[in-house]
């Protein structure tokens, strides 16, 4: 028997604030969280800006011992999970704990911790590395901490597929709840990218914008890196209804594909296959989709390729779709991107408001979609997609429906 899967709680921490309320207020105002970088010496980088979580004080969320065990990326994951769980109002029983899953995504795990440890080793000639480095850096650190805190002991794991990690994680959790493998799931992703070593590696890729993130604009100059985390509480529709939970929306489809084309260049065929697969999994037709939260990184290659892929899938309906990239406001959070954008998509369906593509300056004929430039739109959409396309050619797309 298949279950309908609904979202009863959402948590998010990002450059747009520390919770869902702050996140939505920024999105609905089209306000970008991109600012001059604080975490590292900007003089050592060709790009000065990023989307950092502002004013994050771990001691507000964790005691000192916990802080010692948790890298920033894991802290974001746990903070987001606590918000999602609290919002859902779910009451844990032993049976429910045994049948709930936790699936998280992260691209680079605790690389901030790793970077600090290696600076000490290689530059400061300190011959010892902190023994907590291993538990802090492992990519499943957030999933494991959420399990420890909640006592959830069902299927718990972490997916790492670069920028698609969180969509793959949420999609897997969705399928587990739909098929009955799990009764409920906590799913999402988290990432903390702002260490000098990692930023220098992005600089060398030559895809980071020297100013801001302008998805689909003719003069876009690349992505802006962001950090944060987001988690969803997934439950069966009938159980959420039975306990009178507030329902944010429904997850109705998940599609994945691999480009098998190039390690970093995107392919419209691969992206199109993932979107088609998500629509098919949802039982809908392309014409039923009203909004796409795009991958929209603002690199030259992604935005033109994503536009071509959307045209392949939707044909003439592509001109009736609204598409926006909220990365223009919260940055590209890599392994957390799909989760943060899932929350953005669910809140859009909930509130009847579509967030804009911020920082938009001039249309690009290669990106000739309705990208909701700069101004928020009051529009109630029934069904939406959220796209994630990763380096390595791995694509993951989620389909959502407004709360039943």
């Amino acid at each position: 028997m298949q279950h309908r899967v609904v979202v009863t709680g959402a948590g998010v921490i990002s450059a747009l604030g520390h919770n869902c309320g702050e996140f939505w207020r920024s999105l609905a105002a089209g306000r970008s969280g991109i600012q001059p970088l604080q975490a590292v010496d900007r003089g050592l980088l060709r790009f000065p800006n990023g989307a950092e979580v502002q004013g994050f004080d771990p001691s507000r969320y964790f005691d000192e011992k916990e802080i010692g065990l948790l890298d920033r990326f894991a802290q974001f994951g746990v903070v987001a999970a606590r918000e999602a769980i609290a919002q859902s109002g779910i009451q844990w029983s032993e049976e429910l704990r045994e049948s709930t899953a936790i699936v998280t995504g992260s691209c680079v795990g605790g690389q901030t911790t790793e970077d600090e440890g290696f600076v000490n080793l290689y530059r400061n000639n300190i011959p010892r590395v902190n023994p907590l480095t291993i538990p802090r850096t492992m990519e499943n650190a957030a999933a494991s901490r959420i399990s420890l805190e909640t006592g959830v002991v069902g299927p718990t794991y972490t997916v790492s597929t670069a920028c698609s990690s969180a969509n793959h994680a949420i999609g897997q959790a969705f399928w587990m709840v739909r098929t009955g493998t799990a009764r409920a799931a906590i799913a999402g992703g988290s990432e903390a990218v702002f260490s000098l070593g990692f930023l220098k590696a992005w600089e060398a890729m030559r895809v980071v914008s020297p100013d801001t993130c302008r998805p689909f604009s003719k003069d876009r100059r690349g992505l802006i890196l962001g950090e944060g985390g987001a988690m969803l509480m997934l439950e069966r529709l009938e159980e959420a209804r039975a306990r009178g939970a507030k329902i944010f929306g429904e997850i109705i489809g998940f599609g994945m594909s691999s480009d098998a084309f190039h390690i970093t260049q995107p392919s419209p065929e691969g992206a199109a296959r993932a979107m088609r697969s998500a629509i098919s999994d949802s039982g809908l037709q392309p014409e039923d989709i009203g909004y796409i939260n795009a991958h929209g990184t603002a690199t030259q290659a992604n935005d033109a390729t994503e536009t071509a892929a959307i045209r392949k899938v939707f044909g003439v309906h592509a001109d009736r779709l609204a598409v926006s990239s909220t990365k223009s406001m919260h940055g590209h959070t890599l392994g957390a991107a799909g989760a943060i954008e899932a929350v953005a998509t669910l809140l859009s369906l909930c509130n009847g408001v579509l967030p804009p593509t911020a920082n938009f300056t001039a249309p690009d004929p290669a990106c000739d979609l309705d990208v909701i430039p700069n101004q928020v739109r009051q529009q109630q959409v029934e069904c939406a997609l959220s796209n994630s396309f990763a380096f390595g050619g791995l694509n993951a797309v989620l389909a959502f429906r407004r709360a039943p």
Partner: protein
């Protein structure tokens, strides 16, 4: 360094980076002819930056599509004295 010397060094860097015999990489070769894609391109620029201790700005990098573009780009950076960290903020 003469223009000819610079061209020879660039041919060598590209041949090494692309695992090509150096005679295949001529002063007139385009990246397309040599099968150099965008990822190969940034890898070559990385090798060039290390070899000459220069920093090639992203905007300049985007327009480099041939051996000649690389040679001319290096020449202008060296003439402008943009070695070391000075060009990082360019």
């Amino acid at each position: 360094m003469s223009h000819a010397e610079l061209t020879e060094r660039v041919r060598g860097i590209i041949a090494t980076a692309q695992h090509l015999p150096q005679e295949k990489v001529t002063a007139d070769s385009t990246f397309e002819e040599l099968g150099i894609d965008s990822l190969d391109g940034i890898n070559i620029l990385f090798a060039v930056e290390n070899e000459f201790n220069i920093n090639i700005p992203d905007d300049a990098a985007q327009n480099i599509r041939s051996v000649r573009d690389v040679v001319e780009g290096i020449a202008s950076l060296l003439e402008g004295g943009q070695g070391g960290q000075a060009a990082v903020r360019a």
